[in-house]
C-alpha cells in the first residue's frame, strides 16, 4: 500500500471545487478509493449528495469517465459498463488491459431503493467494487430516515416528537446481507482511518468479481455537527463500536480494528444534534437500550472474528 506521502502526490481524480458541504465525509472516501485503483477507473454514482454535488452542468469534478443514471440502479448501471468492457475487449474495440469499475451509492441508494439491483449484480458476479457511503439518512433530499439510520435518530421522517422519540427500528445490517451473497471481499471502513480504508479498497479492487465497501460518512448537515469535527465523529463511531471495522475475505471474517478502550456510546451521540432528545432525563432508558444493542452487536462480531462464515 502507498504511504500517505505517496498518496498525497498522486493526481486527484475527484477535483476540488465541487459543491459537497464543508466537512462532508464523502469526498475523502471517494478520493481514497479512487487512489487505490492503480488502473484506469470508470465509475457510476447513484442519485444523492455525491452525484448532485459533483456534477452541476456544465461543471464536473470527475477526472475519470463517470455516469449517473438514477437513484436505485448504480449496481445495474455498472453491470452494463463492465459487461460492455468485456464485450468490446473481446472484439478488439477496447484495448486497455486492466480497467476497474466502481459504483458509489449513499445508504438510501444502497440499503433501500437500490438493494435489489445490488443483490442482482453481486449474484451475477460482475467484476466491480460497490462503495456505499453511509451517512445514515437521505441527506440530499433533506435528512429523511433510511434503513441505515441509527436507532432513535431524529430525521425529518422519523422526528423526535412528543410521543415517538425518533427512529424506532434498529439499522439494517447491509454488510452481512452482502456477505450472504458469498462475494469474495466485503468490508466496513471509515475515512478517519485512511490506511485501513485504503488497504481495503486496494484489496477489493485487486479482487476479481464483485466486492463491497460500506463506509461511515459523517454529514455535518444531517448530524447537526460542526464541519471541522467530522473526522472526529467518524473515529468515535468506531471507538464506541457502533461502526466496527472488519472485513470478510473469502468467507473468513476479521475484525481489523479493536479499540483499546471501548468508549461509551453517549460520547458519540452527545455531540450530534440528531440525538439531542436522548439526553433528556426521561429518555435515559432509550440511551441504555441503544448502548445494550451496540454491545450485543459488537460481541456478536467478536464471536465471529477469525471464523469462516
Amino acid at each position: 500500500m502507498a504511504t500517505l506521502k505517496e498518496l498525497s502526490k498522486q493526481d486527484e481524480l475527484l477535483s476540488g471545487g465541487h459543491r459537497l458541504c464543508a466537512g462532508c465525509g464523502i469526498p475523502p472516501i471517494v478520493r481514497l478509493v479512487l487512489r487505490a485503483a492503480n488502473a484506469p477507473v470508470v465509475a457510476t454514482t447513484a442519485t444523492g449528495c455525491l452525484e448532485v454535488g459533483t456534477t452541476i452542468y456544465p461543471y464536473t469534478a470527475w477526472r475519470i469517465p463517470w455516469i449517473h443514471s438514477a437513484f436505485e440502479n448504480a449496481a445495474a448501471t455498472i453491470s452494463g459498463v463492465e459487461t460492455a468492457y468485456r464485450a468490446l475487449k473481446k472484439r478488439g474495440k477496447v484495448t486497455q488491459e486492466d480497467m476497474k469499475f466502481i459504483a458509489f451509492g449513499g445508504d438510501g441508494g444502497t440499503y433501500d431503493i437500490g438493494l435489489q439491483a445490488l443483490s442482482g449484480a453481486l449474484e451475477r458476479g460482475h467484476d466491480f467494487l460497490y462503495v456505499c457511503y453511509d451517512n445514515g439518512a437521505y441527506m440530499n433530499t433533506g435528512i429523511q430516515r433510511s434503513s441505515a439510520t441509527p436507532f432513535y435518530s431524529n430525521t425529518t421522517t422519523s422526528p423526535a416528537g412528543e410521543v415517538i422519540q425518533g427512529k424506532q427500528e434498529w439499522r439494517k445490517d447491509l454488510t452481512r446481507i452482502v456477505v450472504a451473497h458469498n462475494v469474495p471481499y466485503a468490508a466496513q471502513a471509515s475515512p478517519h482511518n485512511w490506511s485501513d480504508l485504503s488497504k481495503k479498497a486496494e484489496k477489493a479492487l485487486k479482487t476479481k468479481g464483485p466486492t463491497f465497501l460500506n463506509v461511515m460518512s459523517p454529514c455535518p448537515l444531517g448530524w447537526y455537527t460542526k464541519s471541522e469535527d467530522s473526522i472526529k465523529w467518524a473515529k468515535l463511531s468506531v471507538d464506541t463500536c457502533y461502526w466496527p471495522l472488519y472485513e470478510v475475505e473469502d468467507g473468513i471474517l476479521r475484525v481489523t480494528y479493536k479499540p483499546k478502550e471501548k468508549k461509551p456510546l453517549a460520547d458519540w451521540l452527545k455531540p450530534q444534534g440528531r440525538f439531542k432528545h436522548l439526553f433528556k432525563p426521561e429518555n435515559e432508558h432509550l440511551l441504555e437500550k441503544f448502548q445494550a444493542r451496540v454491545d450485543l452487536e459488537w460481541q456478536r462480531l467478536l464471536d465471529l472474528d477469525g471464523k469462516r462464515l
Binding site: 452542468y57 440502479n73 448501471t77 480497467m99 439491483a117
Partner: protein
C-alpha cells in the same frame, strides 16, 4: 434455434424472427428479463449466446428496471445494445426509458405489445408502448412478422445515425404476431452487417483517455436546452427513418415508409389502425372494394416522431375517417392515435369527419366483421353528415 430455408423463405414466429434479426445484428451487449409474450426472443437469443453463434455478452438481470439500467450503462460505455420486453416489463422500465433517450443512447428495444394490469392479462393491446409514447423513444409499429424482422435492422440504423442518437422501440402484437408462424424472407448475414454498419460512438465511458461525464445534474439554466436538442433530434429522425426504409427497399426489395396506405388514393372513407389489425382491416377493404365501395386503410408505422403533415396529406379529401386505438387514454376522449390523427387533420382546408373507436383490449379479437361494422358507420356519417358518437368501444 436452427433455421432452414426453402426457396429463400422460412417459417418463423414473430419472436423467433426478431431473435434471429438480433443474432444477425450480433450486438455487443444484451440485458434482458423475461415476460410473456416477449420471452421467446430472449430464450432464442440465449440459445445463440450459449452456442457461440453470437459474440454478444448477455446480462440476465434481476428486473426490467435493471435491464434498461444495464443497457444504459453498456450503451454509454460504447457498446451496441439491444433488449426486449412487454407490458409490465416496459412499465417497470419507464423511469429508465426517459434516461436512455435523455442521454441520447441508441438502444434498440423490441416491445411485444401486451395489455397492462389490472386486471392482469397477457394478451395483446397497445397500452404498454402507448404509455411510453412520450418517453423520447422513436417508435416503429409492425404489421407482420416480416415487418417486425425488417424493422429491427432499420431501427439500428436510425438510432445510431449521428443526426439522431435516440433509442428506438420496435413494436409488434403479442401472440398475434409474436407467436404466429409466417413465411418470411431473411436477409443475408453479410448484407445485414453492411446495412447496419459499425457502431463507432463519438464519446464512450471506456475511453479513459477522454473522460466524459454522463448524467450531470442540470438546473433551469440548461435543462430546457437539452430537451430542445433532443426534440430537434426526434424531429430529424423522421427523414432518417424514411431514408432507412427506402434504402432497405432498394437492397432487399421491401420498402417501408412513414405509414402504409392501402387502397387510399381514391377512398371516400378510411380506417386508421396500427399493427396486425391493419391486416384484418385490409381484408374488409378488399371485400368492400369488390362491391364497388371506395374504402381504404392507413397504417401508421412511425408513431414517434408522429408524421402529422404526411398523414394529414394522405387523408386529405377523404370524407369520413375512423381512427381505431387498441388502447384507451382513460381521458373520456378516445385513444392516443385518435387524438393525434384528429389533431393532424385540423390544418386541412376541408376537414374529414372523424371518429374514434377503441377495440381489442387485452387480446379481444378484432375480426373482419368488426372492420366492416366500422365502415358501415363511416358510410352512415357520409350519408347523414353527422357523427352520432365521437368515441366509443367496439368489440365488446
Amino acid at each position: 434455434m436452427a433455421i432452414t430455408m426453402t426457396k429463400g423463405q422460412v417459417g418463423l414466429t414473430g419472436n423467433s424472427a426478431v431473435a434471429y434479426a438480433m443474432k444477425q445484428i450480433n450486438p455487443d451487449v444484451c440485458a434482458a428479463y423475461p415476460i410473456t409474450p416477449s420471452t421467446a426472443i430472449i430464450e432464442d437469443f440465449s440459445g445463440y449466446v450459449a452456442d457461440g453463434a453470437v459474440e454478444t455478452e448477455l446480462i440476465t438481470v434481476e428486473s426490467e428496471h435493471s435491464a434498461m439500467s444495464a443497457c444504459i450503462g453498456a450503451s454509454a460505455a460504447g457498446a451496441r445494445v439491444m433488449t426486449a420486453t412487454s407490458s409490465q416489463g416496459l412499465a417497470l422500465m419507464w423511469e429508465m426509458l426517459y434516461i436512455a433517450s435523455g442521454m441520447r443512447l441508441p438502444i434498440v428495444l423490441a416491445n411485444v405489445n401486451r395489455a397492462l394490469s389490472a386486471p392482469i392479462n397477457i394478451h395483446c393491446d397497445h397500452s404498454d408502448s402507448m404509455g411510453a409514447r412520450d418517453a423520447g423513444w422513436i417508435q416503429i409499429y409492425s404489421e407482420t412478422v416480416q415487418e417486425a424482422y425488417d424493422n429491427m435492422f432499420q431501427a439500428v440504423r436510425i438510432a445510431e445515425n449521428s443526426n439522431v442518437l435516440l433509442p428506438v422501440m420496435v413494436c409488434f402484437d403479442g401472440f398475434i404476431t409474436s407467436h404466429a408462424i409466417e413465411n418470411i424472407s431473411l436477409v443475408d448475414d453479410a448484407e445485414v452487417k453492411d446495412f447496419v454498419g459499425e457502431y463507432n460512438p463519438a464519446t464512450m465511458l471506456l475511453n479513459t483517455d477522454n473522460p466524459v461525464t454522463y448524467g450531470a445534474m442540470t438546473l433551469p439554466d440548461t435543462y430546457i436546452e437539452f430537451k430542445h436538442q433532443q426534440s430537434q433530434a426526434m424531429s430529424r429522425s423522421k427523414d432518417i427513418a424514411l431514408e432507412a426504409g427506402k434504402e432497405f427497399g432498394k437492397r432487399f426489395g421491401r420498402e417501408y415508409g412513414l405509414f402504409d396506405s392501402y387502397r387510399l388514393e381514391d377512398a371516400e372513407v378510411a380506417i386508421v389502425i396500427m399493427n396486425s389489425a391493419a391486416g384484418t382491416t385490409k381484408v374488409a377493404v378488399d371485400e368492400l372494394r369488390k362491391q364497388g365501395k371506395k374504402v381504404g386503410v392507413l397504417r401508421p408505422r412511425l408513431f414517434r416522431p408522429f408524421p402529422f403533415r404526411e398523414i394529414a396529406n394522405a387523408l386529405k379529401g377523404i370524407k369520413a375517417i375512423a381512427i381505431l386505438d387498441r388502447v384507451d387514454s382513460m381521458n373520456d376522449f378516445g385513444g392516443p392515435l385518435f387524438n393525434e390523427v384528429r389533431s393532424a387533420l385540423y390544418d386541412l382546408e376541408t376537414r374529414p369527419k372523424v371518429f374514434g373507436r377503441i377495440y381489442g383490449l387485452g387480446g379481444r379479437d378484432y375480426k373482419v366483421k368488426d372492420a366492416l361494422g366500422v365502415f358501415d358507420e363511416l358510410y352512415k356519417v357520409v350519408e347523414t353528415g353527422k357523427i352520432d358518437t365521437l368515441t366509443k368501444y367496439i368489440t365488446l
